[in-house]
Symmetry: C2
Subunit: 531 residues, 2 copies
């Protein structure tokens, strides 16, 4: 029998065929999060819609990327701000990335912004919860499950109110709330905390920083979540914490893959769907195809700072343009601001670009990115080395991850000079190790038994079919902190040991005293006798 | 567009088709473990062989279930015992399950048996390692990876010697060695230790027992593994511990599924393939088909005590037969001993039975089993409620898991009476809750995105393709115990706090003294002035 002759039809193929054809239409409620968060969740929601499920997403009337023109049913609710003021708000966040105030002022601004954001979005959530007509509609709809992005916890309150089993779809939560809520161990010795830009290999001082940042994150969570906690308690008519709400989640779909994230303890109800947003490559439009073909042997560089930042201060733009002009590649830059005066011929400014399709093109040599997780996964899927210019949020952490894997170089957007940019870009293009490293990561990432999109769809359908996933819920949820760490058992055993030692000592002393006393008593008569 | 019209070809289907057709033939070395352990590993090895890989398994000349007649290449090595003495050894283990000596004697016998087993099998391993011809052949074969059952750690020594990336295939290791070697947290407050028959919901006293058993397991591991440790150090010419060897494993294929096991922390390089042994149902032979069809509306009961126990003491056999005679079902009993004198018409003794095919038959009402994990998974796959008569090893733990799920009843094989057996059997057949519970478990177990066999095959191929899975290895491996638990960081922070307090106190005291002294000095002249 030849080697090829021995191949047989795969059992998984049969299973997947049945999985594909058996999907029974069910009802899913979706409570998404605006911004780039929505980009990858939409992929899953669309797939679920394609599979015939009845999907209702509730979104605010004003939003950045969530539009009411989706294929599935969209229900909007009014919000206490206009589309214009929201656009201004996001624009201001983008602008603030290029300001560099002194540290103390920076922290004050950051805390003020977080507080402002929490107030704004908890008020948005209040508008949803107290929209009687909409909530009545949701109550009457008999959903099988709810899928949400819990980073701003309006979804968990809706889930609790409607008593629906929930699927969380997310990348990470501040204060390790995801790990606390799932009782997943989270050792600070090798699991870097959010916003520290630590890797998993930390020096002593980094471990000290990691632990202290971990502790200080509680303030961040207080600022972010206390208003939601009050709202939840008020709306549900009982005292409730965000952690309590989060701990009811059935399945956590986490946009993680360990070619990018550092390996760490996980829990059975955490499903890893990193790369869920990497789409099949589509052909480029004529316009882009022409630019790419004209780039010659040097190929192209794709440059985008994400969905929230498409224009930057002119001084910075001129610096960047100068650097881009110094490389032989054609640079496709998503940029909507004023055209820099020094724009060279090899730099093409575009208002929008088909990022994944361009990254998938064999002529693409590098990707200049802000380090948002979506873009990084697209670069990994397509094996394109990166120059990272992190702006805010988890982007510093992402950049660190790419850099420790040798798949890119990070620049400080505030301090970088034209030469820094040009050097970094030349390095990732010309030094083969970057391409080799990203290729290795890409091969590992793509070598998986099931596509992350199908995995995500499977688990949402699983929760809809079985009304949750209680068999994946650890018994740790029923233990308090003392019991979980066996402190009561240790205390009991210590007490037993001490008591045994005390009793043994007392027995010894008693025997000793008896002997001594006896000796004393018996020696006296002897003494007297001898007299 | 209709609901059905919206179905589209699944991305996973495309991926799996490519996965199926892309498999490139590679070389795999297999070091299996005898007994029931081999039954499920063989399924994976056969699948890998079907997929065109070049497979060499090394097995001892004398063994219980591993035969040199397999499809793939088998290399045997001589052992210091005969097939007859090995058969006698396993027979004696089976017999000892029905003896009930006083506790102290029981423990002494158990420790003696473990010691005897360790000596016997480490000597088997020595024969393999010092079989120069065979080891030369293995060295020259340029394998891509090694797959092994590590419960008796001969495979890890071979892997280390040949510098091969390794895939472990197993269910559980004593002393939580699997969790220590992978740096997987293993809280004793809700993760029951082996051989405790605890569930994940423990009373205080059970948690005390769990912790103490966990500590005492070290003796068991010393007895089991110290000879292997000496052998490894001698053979590899350097001091090496079993834990060190185990911690080099790339992938741990664990025969776990959380419908059966209790949910607990896991690690990214642990792949869960519980139910890998559940085969597609095959039609029954004419002989068995006739028995099953003749059973009428009451159906059948399948009874087997596993591959190692097929005959039992006559007194016990008569008790069991009496109970089986009292139910209206036909009982198919795998039994090779002397026929009990009271054998009723409805009990059919057979030397072998197609267990999975019988359990898959719709007429099967119950399964009487010793609670080996293979049988339990077959019962779960086929939704058959169980009466469990655990004999040794992890079978008590397995029985507890089935019982806490309400899918079966456990009997103490030494103390059970004929009435106990009959009551338990009638209960699991007639009380609908047992069938409902096992049906629910079965549905959850079978509702998975990929068949465990394909998952296992994928990860073995992954390790062969990429020479390991280093991206799944946590940085915890580079930390010592103190660093892992951040004890040095806590000590440093405590020192900083104490030092700050000390300095603050000293400052206060200094100021206080200065003030007091000044006051004292200034008050005197005032006093003198007033005078």
């Amino acid at each position: 029998m030849t080697v090829m002759g021995r191949y047989q039809i795969n059992a998984g193929l049969v299973l997947l065929l049945s999985f594909w054809s058996l999907a029974e239409a069910r009802k899913l409620l979706v409570v998404p999060q605006d911004g780039s968060h929505w980009l990858s969740m939409r992929v899953v929601v669309e797939k679920l819609w394609e599979r015939g499920h009845d999907i209702v997403a509730v979104i605010p009337e004003a939003s950045l990327l969530m539009k009411s023109s989706e294929n599935f049913t969209i229900k909007t609710y009014s919000v206490p701000y206009t589309q214009e003021s929201l656009d201004r708000y996001y624009h201001a966040i983008g602008e603030s990335c290029f300001q560099n105030p002194p540290l103390l002022e920076k922290i004050t601004i950051m805390l003020k912004n977080i507080s402002k954001m929490a107030t704004m979005f908890s008020s948005t959530c209040r508008h949803l919860l107290y929209d009687e007509e909409l909530m009545k509609y949701l109550q009457d709809s008999n959903f099988d499950a709810i899928m949400m992005d819990p980073v701003l916890p309006c979804g968990p309150i809706v889930a609790e109110f409607l008593s629906l089993p929930s699927v969380y779809f997310m990348r990470g939560l501040p204060c390790g709330l995801d790990y606390k809520a799932t009782h997943c161990p989270n050792p600070s010795s090798y699991v870097p905390r959010l916003f520290t830009a630590n890797s998993d290999h930390m020096m002593f001082t980094e471990r000290v920083k990691n632990l202290l940042v971990g502790l200080s994150e509680h303030l961040l969570c207080y600022l972010l979540y206390s208003e939601y906690e009050n709202l939840a308690s008020e709306f549900l008519h009982r005292d409730v914490t965000i952690l309590e709400l989060f701990s009811t989640a059935s399945i956590w779909l986490m946009r993680y893959d360990f070619v990018f994230e550092y390996p760490r303890p996980i829990m059975p109800n955490m499903i890893y769907v990193g790369g869920v947003n990497c789409k099949q490559k589509k052909p480029l439009s004529k316009e882009f195809e022409a630019i790419v073909n004209a780039s010659g042997e040097h190929g192209i560089v794709v440059f985008s700072l994400g969905s929230m930042v498409s224009e930057i201060p002119m001084k910075k733009a001129i610096e960047i343009t100068e650097a881009l002009g110094s490389v032989p590649q054609t640079v496709l830059w998503r940029y909507t601001g004023q055209v820099p005066s020094n724009l060279p011929n090899n730099v093409k400014l575009v208002k929008w670009l088909p990022q994944n399709d361009l990254l998938a093109h064999p002529k693409t040599r590098a990707f200049i990115t802000h380090g948002g997780s979506h873009g990084v996964y697209e670069a990994i899927c397509n094996a394109v080395p990166m120059v990272l210019m992190p702006l805010f949020g988890d982007q510093m952490d992402n950049a660190k991850r790419v850099e420790t894997r040798g798949a890119g170089l990070t620049l400080n957007i505030l301090e970088m000079t034209s030469k820094d940019i040009s050097d970094a870009l030349r390095a990732v293009i010309n030094d083969k190790k970057y391409k080799e490293n990203i290729k290795r990561l890409s091969e590992l990432h793509l070598d998986r038994p099931i596509h992350p999109l199908d995995l995500a769809v499977h688990w949402v359908e699983f929760v809809m079919r079985h009304k949750g996933a209680p068999h994946l819920r650890p018994a740790a949820h029923e233990l308090n902190w003392i019991q979980y760490h066996s402190l009561d058992v240790f205390a009991f055993l210590l007490a037993v040991v001490l008591l045994s030692m005390f009793i043994s000592l007392e027995c010894c002393l008693f025997c000793f005293r008896r002997c001594f006393h006896k000796k004393g008593r018996t020696s006296k008569p002897t003494k007297s006798k001898s007299h």
